[in-house]
């Protein structure tokens, strides 16, 4: 178990290193001389300042050395400086990270729970109206762009019914604390989390349904039935547990898409997370910040993949940790 985790962590670090190197070359690809761009962003462009910047960021050194300095910087969580926001990139991301984690994890929990629930129902009542209904709904949600779902949600629940706030993390100027504050944040969270979750819910519904129907026909289910186990027990303990394996794999694969969806969702709902930060960086062409967020997103995906790999091994006892 422990050696397995260690192995995966080492592998993840190597991938992350490769992403950081890729990032370095992407920054080079960005238009304009970085020093002049930075000077411009800082509001000064005289030659001496540009030269100082070049020296400060090692831009006068040969490329391999620059790469080394950059990688070393990232390793010590120094992601560069955002001149637009006048703050270190790492600090900006650090401030925004909790909101993104709250949003993505809630969306993930919603999508997985509802997806498995609906998928199980559809499989249980395969061929009936309930199954058709769930399948059609899943198909439709699967085809909707996230930004549009978000806007339709605002149109329906904020503009028409006025039930939920349409933007932000908390009510500005409400000055509430404790439970009242948590309720306030939850109210702001519902729509973004549902928006982000619905697309993935549709995927998990389809996957769970297909997977359950497949497992149902296998021999060990017949054995269980022959042993006289009740239908409910067979469904829950034998079919569902095995059918969940591909769903867990899919959840791991989807972590990257979840982050991408968070960029859109946070942008529409003005949710103060790193996705919104990425959008702001995009609007201001703040490349240091943009690529900093990109590295952190990649790191989050790697961590998430590691976790799903562990869960996969917990759910499926056939796989041993030794491998």
């Amino acid at each position: 178990m422990l050696s397995f985790v260690a192995q995966r962590v080492v592998k993840g670090v190597i991938v992350l290193l490769a992403i950081v190197v890729l990032n370095f070359f992407l920054i080079r690809l960005a238009p304009g001389d970085p020093a002049i761009v930075m000077a411009g962003e800082a509001g000064a462009s005289d030659q001496i300042f540009v030269k100082q910047l070049r020296e400060k960021f090692g831009l006068d050194k040969p490329l391999p050395e620059q790469l080394f300095i950059y990688v070393k910087g990232v390793a010590t969580l120094d992601l560069g400086f955002s001149f637009r926001q006048q703050a270190p990139v790492a600090k900006l991301i650090g401030e925004r990270l909790p909101a993104t984690l709250l949003l993505t994890l809630t969306a993930f929990a919603i999508s997985l729970t509802l997806g498995i629930l609906f998928g199980t129902f559809a499989a249980r009542f395969a061929g009936t109206f309930l199954d058709t209904g769930i399948t059609v709904f899943a198909l439709i949600f699967y085809a909707m762009p996230i930004f549009w779902v978000a806007l339709m949600g605002i149109l329906l629940f904020s503009v028409t019914f006025e039930w939920l706030p349409s933007f932000g993390y908390e009510t500005v100027g409400a000055n509430v604390t404790g439970l009242a504050h948590a309720v306030d944040v939850a109210k702001h969270l519902i729509m973004p989390a549902m928006t982000l979750g619905l697309f993935f819910m549709a995927t998990y519904t389809r996957m769970t349904r297909a997977s359950m129907l497949e497992v149902k026909r296998l021999d060990f289910v017949k054995t269980a039935r022959a042993k006289g186990l009740s239908d409910a027990v067979i469904q829950r303990r034998h079919v569902l547990r095995n059918a969940l394996l591909p769903v867990v794999t899919l959840a791991g694969v989807h972590s990257g898409t979840l982050i991408g969806g968070a960029v859109i969702t946070e942008t529409v709902f003005a949710w103060p997370g790193i996705g919104r930060l990425m959008y702001d960086a995009l609007l201001q062409r703040d490349y240091n910040l943009l690529l900093g967020v990109f590295v952190i997103c990649s790191a989050m995906v790697l961590i998430f993949n590691l976790i799903t790999d562990l869960v996969y091994r917990l759910v499926d006892p056939r796989i041993e940790f030794a491998s």
């Binding site: 198909l139 909707m144 503009v159 990257g256 991408g260 990425m278 997103c297 990649s298």
Partner: protein, 279 residues
Amino acid sequence: MKQFWKSMLKSPSGVIGLIILLFAISVAVFGPMLFPNSPWRMVQRPFLPPFTLGAVPLGTDALGRDVFAGMIFGARVSLLVGLVSTLVALLVGVPIGAMAGYFGGKVDDALMRFTEFFQTIPSFALAIVLVAILQPSIYSIVASIAVVSWPPVARLVRGEVLSLRTREYVQAAVVTGQSNSWIILREILPNALSPVIVLASLMVATAILLESSLAFLGLGDPNLISWGYMVGAGRTVIRQAWWITVFPGVAILISVLGLNLIGEGLNDALNPRLSREGR
């Protein structure tokens, strides 16, 4: 081929999907002929509600531009980007997967590590970064979508080739001294095609979603109107004018749905063994 169309037309989702796709393609091809004016042109007063004037059936946006005309011109961009970027992704993914599966060993290891690396990077975030750095244009958008969507193709093709290359007819080709490229191109790939076709149809759908999301964030080609751009432009005035965001979104939804249905239909028609499950 006849068999294929027969089973494709037997699957209800395939038929609905085909109808939707044919409709979307004809709108993209012929629609702009009916609307000779640029969709960027102001035609009426701003914020004209839909269904009030026959000439502008879906109303106008904040700058008085015809929403209906925008949707028709947008179909061109969405379908074009979807198809071309999928084609490019196939051109990258199929050779990589085929080589990995055929040669095995170190080649396979190296190519698959490379593929996995690209699969780990959050795709939408990478697409945003690439388009932002290369500057938004139809070329950079197609390139970025292709870059983030080829890995599944490579993995799928590798798996297919891996199982096909031990077949007797392939062995026979090896014995008769055919070159590797001839065997891959003429013997193996044609037989690995059907799952790739299914995947490709789903990839076009994903590409359309990606393109619209990029355009929504302001990373569309500034010279081409697209559905995502229209929704993005209508976002700030959603409280006054719902129609600017609603209609283009419906267009995206229907096209993506159509392509997904075609994917299911193709799956039923090309892999009858798999599709029977769950019926």
